[in-house]
Amino acid sequence: MNRRRLASADLWPLLLLASLLLAALAGPWLAPYDPNAQPDPVALASQPPSWAHPFGTDPFSRDVLSRVLHAARLSLGIATVAVAIAVSFGALLGATAAIAGRWTESALMRVTDAALAVPRLLLLMTAAAAFGRVSPWMLALLLGATGWMTTARLVCNETRRLLAGDELRGARALGVPRRRLLLVHLLPALLPTLGVAATVAMAAAIPLEAGLSFLGLGVAPPQPSWGNIILEADGRILANWWLVLFPTLAIVASVLATNVAAERLATVHTRG
């Protein structure tokens, strides 16, 4: 394989992801209008894209570009927090299982299997129904609480492999204290796996949040999220195409970038 092409191919998804995150952070300053302002709900409602409103307006005359930008912050923010929760909990559980071994490991892994068997969207919908209206923080927490299983599995396998490997066995033979062993030797060695787990979790969290909002169970109005902007099209996707197209592009771009990043990380990791 051509090395140079590989390098440039490695770079674009990360660049794309970085610029999306940047847009998310800077969204409020980039947005030309207040995302909730309804300047004229009679004359300016549901306008197709124009110079004044490059992404058009929604049925309340709100500027879709501003809403998509603000939504980036919310949608990506929720996904990021969710991933942080999921990866830290999953890693803790996976590593604990692998280090403890024996029946603790098989018990924890069976719990993981059971949690994996429950379809995540259903679990989230159930929780959303139970809590009524969910705040963005709650949504992030729920997404995190239902997303740790993949990480737990990955980390458990990797830890087991590392524990059996020469480096850790050597360190243990040298009498390195247990805590130091875990922090200095195991944790850095786990980092690539955590990177893979984080990107995989991210690629799953973004569409889930959008799907929940699309079902009307996610972010509450008037706060914009990519999913609920699509919902505003009200099923009339032909007449209101701009309400579907632009948030969709944002979702697809961010998931695509994360997926590619995940794949590259995995390849680099297994190769190295």
Binding site: M1, R110, V111, D113, A114, A115, L116, A117, V118, P119, R120, L121, L122, L123, M125, T126, A128, A129, A130, A203, P207, A210, G211, F214, L215, G216, L217, I230, I237, L238, V244, T248, I251, V252, V255, L256, N259, V260, E263
Partner: protein
Amino acid sequence: MRRVLLARLGQGAIVIALVVTIGFVLIRLMPGDPFVAALDNEGVAPQLRDQLRAQYGFDRPLPEQFLRFIGQLLRGDLGWSFSRSQPVATVLGDVLPATALLMGTALLLGGIGGVLVGAWQGWRGDTSGTRWVSRASLLLLSVPEFVLALLFVLGPALLLGWFPVAGMQSDFAGSGLAALRDLLHHLVLPAGTLALLIGAVVARHQRRAVLGVADAEFVRAARAKGVPESRVLFRHALRNALVPVLTLAGVVFPALVSGAVLVERVFAWPGMGRAIVEAVLRRDYPLVVGAVMVSSLFVVLGTMLADLAVAWADPRQRRA
């Protein structure tokens, strides 16, 4: 083989027990009790609520409730759905065939299609053709299910009018062959949406797996013996490369159920996904939890079957 089977069954039983426990915990987590949302209005007498609570054992201590819950499950009693005024088991029994048809078709089409595409990609190696297919499958993986479903509604159904927009059958589908044709006509778009998504996942793993065995020793040996290339691919390489794809089941099945919820919503497919969305919106907790448990059991069983298939396909595991 028998030992593998027993071990898998044992593990499956443990997982099922855990799923059932999760179901029970979910019911308990709901605000108030399942009767609040359905019966809490002035028109309903407090005695009726108490009577139902007693009937379903909600006035008993938790451990006893759990035992009752298990007992009812064993008898196939999943509780009472308030939004539909029917037993939960009846509601799920009504919608399950539609979902099974949708998911079965999608799994079959997506699985076979994905394996073939992935095998072709892996076998041909890095050409511009395979690279484009790779990009396309990655793009597909990045499109949320509901967006893909909306696009299918927009194009083939609304703009071109080739397929019905929604539902599973026409109001007057006729009978026999006409009914079957009508059903298949309705099935194309929703099953196609899910099949594409499954196909994309499977193809990506299959490609990698075939790449892995493409220059394995037994393949080279087969080639050296003069076995035709297509035969090498199908008889030797593919069978071994199927193993990692089968292990995907644990990931694909839950994703399939979640995907079906959204796809059924968009296409108004009268299956379990649509029943769940409605139940959630109506706070019909017994139906929600029943549906979650049934779909989880489906996932566990599916994964177990896939594991057994792995044991069959992979001689190394068969001996273990």
